[in-house]
Symmetry: D3
Subunit: 143 residues, 6 copies
């Protein structure tokens, strides 16, 4: 684990994206109409994602535990494709990119888990960092 | 959560894939030569993935806790692309697809986390189920 | 921890209740209309409760880990009072009363947490077991 | 999750209460005399509660993780009623009300779990915040 | 992780030991008289150990999650030496040696943590398996 | 849990040691040559230990959660004896001795778990604090 004892705390923001591709319009309709048997897919996956962001350091050995001061999870539907955006902020010595990406992956996996009884053709695509601010380098670059 | 009290335990297998795309041959070389500063990327990500498979039901609300009886994690390198394969087995009433996919996502995220100091252009692609056996439907279909 | 190695697995069901008392009709309206700033209170608290049921043995030292095979969480509104019902099933050697009660308490606490910015007078009342079946004694009695 | 990046850290205190009602004097005597088969109910439930306070943000999606700097757990017996008091302190940007309430609920549930083999009539009542200091509003008011 | 899908469930028992060496008779007296400021050392460390046994598979990557059906934690004092014995039972396809050893290590670490304000010379010695039954080989041998 | 609200944050370092004693030269060779069937023992145990350090406050009731800002895990082989050194740093109000010791115990237990199929005579010895700096007292003394 990288030594960050000498670093300064600054405001760090990261936005990560995951894409869930479903295979039918019926799946999109079931999500919108809240008729998926397991429950409200967007609200419950948001709950899972909020918890997932906070558990990142529990799952990734080299990841520093840090105070998550803000998380937002939003969805956009475009045809059969659902884009998940996860925004995380902290004021700390290291960034929250991996936390945002982990949150996005948990939201996507939970959507998959809730939707698989009604759609056998779902895929999770493109978990990536869209933006980060507050570290040495600003856009789309690592720690 | 779906009621599975009436279901029979059978051998279930699932294989999931995640793809990590790096941006330079140097990254591949550093992984192979075990010169990545944070440590041996494949071995440490395997450890994270083995734990991640077991924590799936802790992260996904509707996922049944189940006895993970086997997990295997392997890697294949093809140019700048690393394919992660996670195989999970159980003898239980429900399948291990989501567990395998969660394991694959954790391995991929951990590789991202360990590699980001040396490569700013990594992406995680295509977390998907390759195969499942043991439920009502066999290949590439859901619960 | 009680030794259960000699016991037989049977179908066990438990239903627990928790009551959340809010202080104003506006709070009830905000829940129903899904206008609470933190999100959909019932759906997100259900997600928290589903996870909470599964984590019971992580929090209570003497509680046996067991396969949660079904959880249902439902709500009933009566005036300013919201009744949470949590039903849990397993086929195992010991009952799921404490799991159902823990789930009910987590749902109630999460409702409190999501509602406190709009209602300062919320109370959690009466976390209790309503019903259990499958052990030595059947209605409203312990292990 | 509410954005707290702009907030100042101040000393925050919260005291929460839970009430456990037992059904017989024998139960009270067994607790006092430390003859409950599962062990010392007050000491073991205190251990569970200390851990529970720290796990609040793991269970409640919108709850910020924060540095728990002090937790105290005490008991008062009055007839068949046991009052649990949980005091939590932090120096942080948000309060510890929900942490104290979660701690109180875990202590109460653990007492229920340890006592149910000897008393089938236990109820958990009235998990509530008694006091908070350090936020915008001081007594018995929310975040 | 070793594939155990083909194995049979049998009754497995393991007993592990850890030794805590304190540096003064006053420490032993404070434990016995329950005057250690942090609380009752034996009861609280037992609670921590019961939870620790159940979390073994969360911490050790290759360890199979399994149903802990019994755990007992006992202490023996001999001069300045405290011997901790942890007994674990399951009916499963693999043994509980590591679970018993992990429980013993958590009990010992918790005693260290509770006692360090009053004794600066504590050491944890000799975490080892004393006995196992139920696998291919019976006494003091591995999986 | 001790009240630390009034304490100042300073740089704290702790180094803990655990010793794993194997029973044969073949075990040492298998570790060095990375031929242990479960995988690379040092790299995977390092991953487990990095996570274990971060989970200390989840397992020990009185332990304050704190920001782990650095962890290093190293190994030295001397004959049949493997010495594990775990170094932990934080800038906080309380020390990281127990975190370092917990990390050392998890590394040792994971080595035991990975090696037991090939060596039935492994023991874990002497989990102890070698050094601490940053608190009231500096070398080899507790909080």
């Amino acid at each position: 684990m990288v030594d960050i004892t000498h670093k300064k705390s600054t405001l760090r923001t990261a936005i990560a994206q995951a894409i869930v591709q479903v295979s039918s319009e019926d799946t999109i309709a079931a999500i919108k109409n809240k008729t998926v048997p397991k429950g409200d897919v967007f609200a419950m996956s948001k709950a899972a994602g909020l918890l997932g962001v906070k558990k990142t350091a529990d799952l990734l050995p080299d990841c520093h535990p840090l105070p998550i001061e803000y998380t937002d999870i939003s969805y956009a539907i475009d045809g059969l494709q659902i884009t998940i955006l996860v925004t995380v902020k902290t004021i700390y010595k290291t960034g929250v990119e991996v936390e945002a990406m982990h949150g996005a992956s948990i939201v996507a996996l939970n959507m998959y888990d809730m939707l698989k009884p009604i759609d056998k053709g779902i895929e999770i695509r493109n978990i990536k960092l869209l933006k980060k601010t507050g570290g040495k380098s600003d856009i789309g670059t690592g720690q």
